[in-house]
């Protein structure tokens, strides 16, 4: 007997597969459960914030964009079909908003050196680091940050998603609205430009 395949509709997943927690929360949110949506926001807030911060370059704008992202996600939740994960969908909204912001205020992000936890090798246990070395390391990282900020927006978004957030290329492509092949090219091009911009700093630190 021929098996009849049914195309899944909406965020619920096909067949007998259990719903992921995100999909379940989305369904509850669609039924008017605000707590469910808040749970979704809490689950994705930190990650989205980091991404947006790298794209817009300063904390104030990043917070605005993150808020706007989730407000839009909430108001268009009924359009979320579940073809990609909720994370990818939100990332896509966030990236689009960042691009809009950048277009509105000129070409490049208002870059401010970001304070935060350095997941640095220099601070690894068992490694003694002198204050000048630490200062130099910080300076180099600031330069890397600045160089990342000078990349064109799409390249930057692809690089951040791939390298800093560790996403696979399918997710990167879906998030920036391109093909997997183009996403690979974006990331490679971003690396090429950074390697050209920063050779001296990298060599100094390496030596």
């Amino acid at each position: 007997m021929q098996e009849v395949l049914v195309k899944p509709q909406g965020p619920c997943v096909a067949g007998n597969q259990p719903l992921s927690s995100d999909a379940r929360l989305v369904q509850q949110a669609l039924q008017g459960d605000r707590t469910a949506f808040e749970q979704l926001v809490r689950a994705h807030l930190e990650r989205t914030f980091h991404l947006v911060l790298r794209l817009v370059g300063n904390r104030e704008d990043a917070e605005d964009v993150v808020q706007e992202t989730f407000v839009r996600a909430h108001s268009h939740l009924d359009q979320f079909r579940g073809r990609s994960s909720f994370t990818t969908w939100v990332t896509r909204i966030a990236i689009r908003l960042c691009l809009d912001l950048e277009r509105a205020r000129g070409r490049r992000p208002a870059f401010q050196p970001l304070d935060g936890d350095h997941e640095s090798l220099l601070s690894a246990p068992g490694k003694s680091v002198t204050p000048p070395e630490r200062a130099q390391h910080r300076e180099t990282l600031a330069q890397v940050e600045r160089a990342v900020a000078t990349l064109p927006p799409r390249l930057r978004a692809a690089l951040v998603l791939r390298v800093l957030q560790g996403e696979d290329y399918a997710t990167v492509a879906a998030a920036i609205g391109t093909t997997v092949r183009s996403a690979r090219i974006y990331v490679s091009e971003a690396r090429r430009r950074l390697a050209e911009l920063l050779p001296r700093e990298l060599e100094e630190l390496g030596s």
Binding site: V148, S188, E203
Partner: protein
């Protein structure tokens, strides 16, 4: 970077990303083990990767999260009425209601006069008289007969008109203007309302070759001005059908080519698939095609590039020879072809045909392209070899912060624009030491390759604003002695330069060991001496005397003074020499004043 390293470097970037297939990874690892440059590049990439992972990750505290959530809560909409199921039900309801309304409107608006009456047997007049109950059916039958009669007469008239038009067509003098003669001949038929356009269409696809040829000629002449009374677009489907008939392809295509409606262009694109027409269609469409149809044309061209046959390659070459590169869309086509690897000469020759008047339009339209397409289009513009494109190109590249591409662009065109572009690039990137040195080496290459470098450089300097002039001169100062002396010499010997620029140049001449000979400097002094007395060139003269002193010592200085007609009294000679030595820096001075300034003042006060 060596040519053979280009591919491995791309692979290396994927290698650090763990995104390279095994075979490619082994290949690139083997290359890296042999090539020191690529090995260094790999370590740079690895360090970059390390640093990217070490970038700070600012934390969102619980308070921050709560604050952000609080801000969102006030703006959340109620999603209650937004479940997809309900929405789709409402949508379907609306669609059904609209469809029903359309059907009703169509049924109500039917005009019974247009449709033929329903067919039925014609009743006899006796029946009509005897049976009043059958009155309606009888009237209907009469109406039907009347309509049939009308049809028969119309057909007769059309046949008669067709015959007449055929006679007129055959009598046409092929050497005379066809349109006027034809219109005069068919005037009675036109007045009688004969469907001339349909009749000509009929001949075009009919069996008579001569009639078809004449009909095509007439249609070509009268259709573009819509002088046959019927809408031209109505004719496109029948022309398209005729294009598919053996022996009629060219005739129908010729008529289509005179039309400029979108449907006509769509039909012409179909001609690209018809063997008898494709060659002509490719060339025609390349010369003039609206942007909306460029993607379809691009696909056809790409199919041509992939075909292995020599005839197809010839056709591609002919098409590109006729391609009108006048919009961003056609530039994008060339970019795609370039990606497909067609010979560079073909692209170059197409790019060289970009008319100067299109410069501005192209620049504007390039802004509208996506980033990747723009990059490709920009990389194509540099092949135009036309220096007039250089300045806008470099402007665009700088706006895009594509400085490396801008440097590549400078490598090809030669002309004053090249040097202006150098000045602009230097001015914009002067903060960066790295770019400064790259620019200097690019300028050196350009100077070495440009046979008319001095005249180009001088015209560029003449047209530049002062700060850009100084930028270009400062860039020249970073060059080795030979080329920089050449340029500085050109600047100083050119009477049209501003005093400030010449002073800047002569200052560079003294600051640098640029390799000018004593004779060169004497000639420069002569030129300066002949300048208009109103021009204050004492700083230039001072700098030249200094250069003379530095190049050939006090004897040359004395000769220089003599050339200038400077009579320095004996008691002042010692002081003068001290001023010169001070300015040359061979004696220390406690004064804060610029020594060259003092020397210049001294010279202007001298007899």
């Amino acid at each position: 970077m060596k040519r053979e390293c280009r591919r491995p470097r791309e692979d290396l970037r994927r290698w650090v990303d763990d995104d390279l297939p095994l075979n490619a990874a082994l290949r690139v690892e083997e290359h890296v083990s042999k090539c020191t440059e690529c090995h260094r590049y790999l370590s740079t990439l690895q360090r970059l990767e390390e640093h990217l992972h070490q970038l700070p990750r600012p934390r969102l505290t619980a308070g921050d999260q709560e604050r952000l959530l609080q801000g969102m809560r006030g703006r959340w909409l109620t999603p209650a009425a937004k479940t997809p199921r309900r929405r789709s039900a409402v949508r379907i309801g609306w669609a059904l209601a609209t469809a029903a309304a359309c059907l009703l409107a169509f049924w109500l608006s039917r005009d019974p006069a247009i449709a033929p009456p329903r067919e039925g047997p014609a009743p006899s007049p006796l029946l009509m008289a005897r049976a009043p109950a059958n009155r309606g059916a009888a009237e209907e039958a009469l109406e039907w007969r009347h309509w049939q009669e009308q049809q028969r007469r119309t057909k007769l008239e059309v046949d008669r008109s067709r015959q007449r038009v055929a006679e007129i067509l055959l009598q046409l003098d092929p050497t005379a203007p066809v349109a006027a003669e034809f219109e005069r001949a068919v005037l009675p038929l036109t007045l009688a309302g004969a469907p001339l356009q349909r009749i000509l269409e009929h001949f075009l696809s009919g069996p008579d070759d001569q009639l078809a040829k004449r009909a095509s000629q007439v249609l070509c002449a009268v259709l573009p001005e819509a002088r046959l009374g019927a809408p031209v677009a109505d004719m496109v489907p029948s022309l398209e059908r005729a294009m598919g008939r053996p022996g009629r392809e060219l005739l129908a295509y010729a008529v289509l080519a005179t039309l400029s409606s979108p449907s006509a262009f769509r039909a012409r694109l179909k001609a690209l698939e018809i063997p008898a027409l494709r060659s002509q269609a490719f060339v025609d469409l390349a010369a003039a095609l609206p942007d909306a149809f460029v993607p379809a044309f691009e696909r056809a061209l790409l199919r041509l590039t992939r075909a292995p046959e020599a005839a197809e390659r010839d056709l591609l070459q002919r098409t590109l020879e006729h391609l009108a590169v006048d919009t961003d869309a056609t530039l994008a086509v060339l970019a795609s072809l370039h990606r497909e690897g067609i010979p560079q000469e073909l692209i170059e020759s197409a790019m060289r045909r970009i008319p100067e008047s299109q410069q501005q339009a192209l620049q504007t339209s390039l802004q509208g392209l996506g980033p990747l397409k723009r990059r490709e289009a920009l990389s194509l513009i540099r092949w135009s070899h036309d220096p007039v494109f250089l300045q806008p190109l470099v402007e665009l590249l700088l706006d895009e912060e594509e400085i490396d591409l801008a440097l590549q662009a400078l490598a090809l065109p030669r002309g004053p624009g090249t040097y202006e572009a150098f000045a602009e690039l230097y001015h914009r990137t002067r903060e960066s030491r790295l770019w400064r040195s790259q620019l200097a080496s690019a300028l050196l290459r350009t100077l070495q390759d440009d046979p008319r470098r001095l005249s180009h450089c001088a015209s560029a300097l003449r047209s530049l604003e002062t700060d850009r002039q100084e930028s270009l001169l400062s860039l020249c100062a970073a060059l080795p002695p030979g080329p920089s002396a050449e340029v500085l010499w050109e600047v100083l010997s050119d009477g049209s330069q501003s005093s400030r620029t010449r002073t800047h140049a002569s200052r560079l001449l003294t600051d640098l060991e640029v390799g000018c000979t004593q004779n060169d400097l004497m000639a420069l002094l002569q030129a300066e001496r002949q300048r208009h007395p109103a021009v204050d060139n004492s700083r230039v003269l001072g700098a030249l005397l200094l250069a003379l002193y530095q190049t050939a010592g006090p004897g040359a200085l004395q000769e220089g003074c003599r050339t200038l007609g400077l009579e320095i009294p004996k008691r002042q000679q010692g002081r003068f020499l001290r001023e010169v030595r001070l300015a040359a820096g061979s004696e220390g001075s406690r004064r804060r004043e610029d020594p060259l300034e003092r020397l210049a003042r001294w010279l202007s006060a001298a007899p």
